[in-house]
Structure formats: structure tokens, C-alpha cells
């Protein structure tokens, strides 16, 4: 089901990109965590008071003065949604659609390797990338917090939030991968693969921004990931995670089926 030669090649092609994303995440984590001030309320909270709409729009809406809420508000409302999403968009296109567009898919097909094996392997490459990125963020978050504010972070909840983000990112990855398997040119693969999650994210931002638009949150899958409710241990937050994960499996499965049946002019 998996071709390890292709998998290795895929990982070799991803690690530079992963390194860049990891560096960006490291920068944000260290800066944001250093801004946390348990006693005096943080500078960011001042911003939130001064410009509540703007801060809410980018998902920065702290629920309480705890370190975990602070992190979930300032890191898991924007940075940890957007950066892994960009990784998915780039990686999905690179792994399938670009090979079809350039014609290098010919060599992957002109070998005794089933199409389903090729797509399954490429899916694994992408999944590995997302997992590594979020696993790194989890470890990084814990380490940075323990250095700056020993014992302040609720580690168990923090891990659960990251598990939630992983489910969400697998779902987004599924959309990008499906788009990459359907379309034969990068233009459309990226257009749809990036367009759908971007639109969903914009709807999420709008629903956060004002009370009158709150009901449109049901039109976006981002609602299924709610870090505040995960921290609070609410059951619906875990159902949301489960739905995202099942949705991701369906999306990837559909992508593999679509690719195995399509005509390829390579």
C-alpha cells in the first residue's frame, strides 16, 4: 500500500519547507509567550480592550487570565490555523497536481506501482509533515512555557488543543489533497485547494467579529475546532474534533478513489 522509495523522496522534498514553517512558529511562540504577564494582564489584553472587534476578528479573544487560555487565544486562533494550512496547500499541489501538470507523473505511473499506492504514499508524506509540524509546536509550547513560567501551563489541556488543531489541519489537508487529485493543473488545484479553506476562514473571522453575523459560524468547518471549549473539557468540542477527523478520512479516501479513476493526459 505504500511505496517507501516514493515516501522517502517526498520527505526529502518537504523538509526544507517544514524547517521554514517551524522557524516561523518558533518565533511566534517565543514572542507571544514572553508577552504573557500573569500579574499585570498582558499588553495584548490591552489591545483587546482598545480594539475588541479587530482582535476578535483575528481570533485573539482571551477567555481568562490563564496561560493556556492566553496561548489558545493568541496562537491557536490564527498562527496555528494559517501556517499549517499554507503547508497543506503547497505540499498537496507539489505531491500530485504538479507532477501531472509537468508530466513527471508519467514515470510514477510507468512502473509496477498502483495509482492507489502512489496517492496513499503522497498522502502519508503530507500527513507526516502536518503531524511533525504540530507535534513540534506542542513540544515547543511546553518547553517555552516551562522555561518562562514553570508550572503555569496546563499541559494535558494544551496537548488536547494541539490534538484538536491536528484534526482540523488533517481536514484542511484533505480538501487540498482532493483538489490536487481532481485537477490536472496547479492553477486550479491551488485555486480550489486554497480557496475553500481560505473562504471558510474568512467566514470564521466575520462570525467572530460581530454578534449580528455570529450565526454564519455554522457555515464554516472552523467552528468544529474550539480551543476554549476543549480546554473547558466540553463534550461538544471533542465531537467537533471527531467530526473533523472522520471528514478528513472521507476527503483523503475520495481523493485516492478520484485519482485512481481519472484519465491522465501525461
Amino acid at each position: 500500500m505504500i511505496n517507501w522509495t516514493l515516501y522517502k523522496r517526498g520527505i526529502q522534498g518537504s523538509w526544507k519547507m517544514l524547517l521554514i514553517f517551524a522557524a516561523v512558529i518558533t518565533m511566534y511562540f517565543t514572542i507571544i509567550v514572553s508577552m504573557f504577564d500573569p500579574e499585570l494582564r498582558s499588553a495584548l489584553d490591552e489591545f483587546a480592550k482598545a480594539m475588541p472587534d479587530l482582535m476578535a476578528m483575528v481570533g485573539m479573544n482571551p477567555a481568562s487570565g490563564e496561560l493556556i487560555s492566553f496561548m489558545s487565544a493568541y496562537l491557536y486562533g490564527f498562527i496555528m490555523l494559517i501556517f499549517p494550512m499554507i503547508f497543506s496547500i503547497l505540499s498537496a499541489n507539489k505531491l500530485i497536481a504538479r507532477h501531472v501538470e509537468r508530466g513527471s507523473m508519467t514515470y510514477l505511473m510507468a512502473a509496477p506501482v498502483k495509482r492507489t499506492t502512489v496517492t496513499f504514499t503522497q498522502m502519508k508524506v503530507m500527513g507526516t509533515g502536518l503531524f511533525v509540524l504540530i507535534f513540534y509546536a506542542t513540544v515547543l509550547g511546553i518547553v517555552v512555557c516551562e522555561i518562562s513560567f514553570p508550572g503555569e501551563l496546563a499541559i494535558r489541556q494544551f496537548i488536547l488543543v494541539n490534538a484538536g488543531v491536528l484534526c482540523l489541519q488533517f481536514f484542511i489537508g484533505g480538501i487540498c489533497f482532493l483538489s490536487s487529485c481532481i485537477f490536472n493543473t496547479s492553477k486550479y488545484a491551488v485555486g480550489v485547494g486554497a480557496g475553500v479553506p481560505a473562504l471558510a476562514f474568512i467566514i470564521q473571522m466575520m462570525s467572530d467579529a460581530g454578534k449580528e453575523l455570529e450565526s454564519i459560524k455554522y457555515a464554516t468547518f472552523f467552528t468544529l475546532f474550539n480551543p476554549d471549549r476543549i480546554i473547558a473539557g466540553e463534550a461538544d468540542a471533542f465531537w467537533g474534533m471527531a467530526i473533523l477527523l472522520v471528514g478528513a478520512i472521507i476527503l483523503f479516501w475520495t481523493a485516492i478513489v478520484v485519482f485512481s479513476k481519472k484519465d491522465m493526459h501525461i
Binding site: N3, T5, L6, R9, G13, R102, G103, S104, T106, Y107, L108, M109, A110, A111, P112, V113, K114, R115, T117, K261, D263, M264, H265, I266
Partner: protein, 295 residues
């Protein structure tokens, strides 16, 4: 025993594009030429054989296996040279070849070394920086390295210089002698003439002829352009009773079907300075083939 069977293969892209009711079969140990001008449907037919396209109508099999359903099994024993070479980014030729060997689950590098030497290819260079001819050589090595029994070669000599073209022809003839079955597409009759015993000619998506190379050659009318010393001798030459198609200044174009001897004897009487046989287009060849068949 027939290795490759195509029956009633049809794929309509609309506006007259596509392939229509294409049928032929290739016997074991045969080099089969697949001739047609650019855009006539050669590559579309080959894509069906490779399992890239699902037949809308008709069927194709290799070794008795369906080309669409069993493509991965067929590929075990098949070597393919695509019409367009497209490799991966940032790989040297050698890296690509060893990637392909491992991807195919080959236990050794197979014939890689021998083939690289045969085509005098230094595959250490980056694929992106290679010339068209070098890329073509990498493609040839990738198609032959696992020593398959069936070959599908889509315009395999494009980009190769004449010396390498002959090396390639030698390789193909050797493989045939070893009992391999080869389908080779081309848009030049001269190229398949050297290797194939049978050819199928495709035009506008339809097979117009499937015959032996000898039969096509017999029907072929040759043109020779004879250059003489002066215009006067050219016009006198033109009046010797040969079949003349054109006289331009001191050049005379003579059409010869069978009696080359007569042309030679006439040429002996005149101050001939040059003789030239232009390559004939495929169109001309099958026009003649049909003209000859009817009369």
C-alpha cells in the same frame, strides 16, 4: 502469439480530434512501427496501452491483461519511453535512475551501467541542465534498465544525433533478436524502415494502413533531384523519356518507381554534378501506397 491487442479503440475529443476504431495486434518478437504525422493520435493510443486513459469504447490488452485494469501488473514487464521527457526537480540523472530502480523494486541497478556506456551518457549532471538529447538518453536507460519483454517507445530517437540514433537502432534490433516485442512510434518513415517489419499508419485518428514495411516500400515512388552543369543540358536531360516532375534552372526532379537502371544509364550520358533524394513526407508515402493499390 500476439502480445499486444488493440480492438476498436475509440476516444472522441470532439471536433474530429481523438482516435476512432483503432485495431491492430503485435506478435511476440516483432518490432511494430506506429506511424503518423504529429497530432494524428499516436500518443493517445499509447496512453491507452499504458493505462493512463480508460478506453471509452473498445479494448486493449498486453500479455492478455487489460491495459486499464491491470496496468500495474503489465508495467512489471514493460519498458516505456514517453513522447515528452519530464523528470523530477533537483535530481541528477543518476539519482533519477536509481530512484526509478528502487521505485520499481528492482534488487540491482539492472542494465543501467551497460546502457550508460552504450549511449556515452554521463548521468551525473542535474536533469534540469541537460540538453534534450541527454534527457532522451536518460529516458532510454530508464526504459531498458529492468530488461522487460515488451517495449512501448513513443518517438524514441527524438533529440538524438545520428550516431546515437544508430546505436539506438542497434539496441532495438538486439532486443528483437532476444525475442522482445516492441511498439515504436514515429513520424518518419525512414526511421521505422530500418527496424520494423510491420507498420500501422494513423491519420486523423484513424488507421489508414497496416502492412509490412516491404509492401509499403514497394509502393513507394522515389524522387531524385539531378543537378546538371547547365540549363541547356538540363532541358535536354528532361527530354530523354524519363518521368519528370519538375525542371528548375539546372535541376531536374525525376520520379522513379521501379526502373532505376534507366535513370542511371541516362545520367551516364549527361554532365551530372549532383544527385539528391529528398526525404518523403508520410503523406506522400501513403498517398502513393493508396494510389498504387487502386491502379
Amino acid at each position: 502469439m500476439s502480445i499486444c491487442e488493440i480492438q476498436g479503440l475509440t476516444r472522441d475529443y470532439g471536433k474530429g480530434h481523438g482516435i476512432f476504431d483503432v485495431s491492430f495486434s503485435i506478435e511476440q518478437g516483432e518490432i511494430f512501427g506506429f506511424l503518423g504525422p504529429n497530432g494524428s493520435g499516436k500518443t493517445t493510443t499509447i496512453r491507452h496501452l499504458m493505462g493512463f486513459l480508460k478506453p471509452a469504447k473498445g479494448s486493449c490488452t498486453i500479455d492478455g491483461m487489460d491495459c486499464w485494469k491491470n496496468s500495474a501488473d503489465i508495467q512489471n514487464n514493460l519498458g516505456y519511453i514517453p513522447g515528452e521527457m519530464a523528470f523530477f526537480d533537483d535530481m541528477t540523472g543518476m539519482e533519477f535512475l536509481s530512484f526509478m530502480a528502487k521505485y520499481r523494486k528492482m534488487k540491482t541497478a539492472g542494465r543501467t551501467k551497460e546502457l550508460l556506456e552504450r549511449f556515452e551518457l554521463d548521468a551525473q549532471a542535474n536533469l534540469k541542465k541537460m540538453s534534450k538529447g541527454m534527457k532522451q538518453k536518460v529516458g532510454i536507460v530508464a526504459a531498458f534498465m529492468h530488461d522487460p519483454d515488451v517495449f512501448i517507445l513513443d518517438e524514441p530517437t527524438s533529440g538524438l544525433d545520428p550516431l546515437m540514433q544508430s546505436r539506438f537502432v542497434e539496441l532495438v534490433l538486439e532486443e528483437k533478436a532476444r525475442g522482445k516485442t516492441i511498439l515504436m512510434s514515429s513520424h518518419m518513415f525512414e526511421e521505422v524502415e530500418r527496424t520494423c517489419h510491420r507498420v500501422a499508419i494513423i491519420k486523423d485518428g484513424r488507421l489508414v494502413a497496416t502492412d509490412s514495411v516491404d509492401a509499403l516500400k514497394a509502393a513507394q515512388i522515389k524522387k531524385y533531384v539531378i543537378t546538371l552543369e547547365s540549363e541547356e543540358s538540363a532541358s535536354a536531360f528532361a527530354n530523354e523519356g524519363l518521368q519528370i516532375s519538375a525542371v528548375l534552372e539546372n535541376h531536374v526532379t525525376v520520379i522513379v518507381q521501379n526502373d532505376i537502371k534507366k535513370l542511371i544509364s541516362v545520367m551516364n550520358l549527361y554532365p551530372v554534378t549532383n544527385i539528391f533524394a529528398p526525404n518523403q513526407s508520410l503523406e506522400e508515402i501513403f498517398m502513393q501506397y493508396y494510389g498504387g493499390g487502386k491502379s
